[in-house]
Symmetry: C2
Subunit: 99 residues, 2 copies
């Protein structure tokens, strides 16, 4: 079981656009068979900073996500609204161990 944490900084004038497109990506992602969580967060101290918290049952599941229509549509739509390139970090889940 693995988690990807994606940190995104969005141009102020595109915050609403980003939320709309990312909600669609969320909706598609939670239907993927290997998906466990797909939380979309907005920083309390900096509303231009978003975090995507994506948990998958396997590396294969996380990889398959990148080939879905909803991910590819999201990637293309939000690219131009980002203030800097997004950063991704990968983690193994220590707990819960029953996910």
């Amino acid at each position: 079981m693995i988690v990807t944490i994606v940190n995104v900084y969005v141009k102020k004038e595109h915050i609403e656009d980003f939320i709309r497109e990312t909600a669609l990506n969320h909706k598609g992602s939670i239907k993927e068979p290997e998906n466990l969580r797909f939380d979309v967060l907005q920083s309390q101290s900096d509303p231009t900073n978003f975090v995507l918290y994506e948990a998958y049952r396997s590396e294969e599941g996380a990889k398959a996500h990148k080939e879905t229509t909803h991910y590819l549509k999201w990637k293309e739509a939000v690219e131009k609204w980002m203030d800097k390139p997004r950063q991704s970090n990968r983690y193994n889940i220590i707990a819960p161990n029953n996910l």
Copy 2:
């Protein structure tokens, strides 16, 4: 609904100690009435880097966590194993909106 992401760097020789104590904190935390998630992650690229992903129904719930026996016990136990002070960031949950 709010999320706290805590970033911890642990001294290499105390990785196992940290995992043991944090698993106990996890076990207590998920029983708190306001808790939604308490995921413990270990970085794939740097095994000394851990992330605690804590979601609560309310600010009050997140605050109440800091007064629990399991949190206070964890805090005291792990302090000396950290390589640098831990960092916390607070987020609002955009999606899912049914948590």
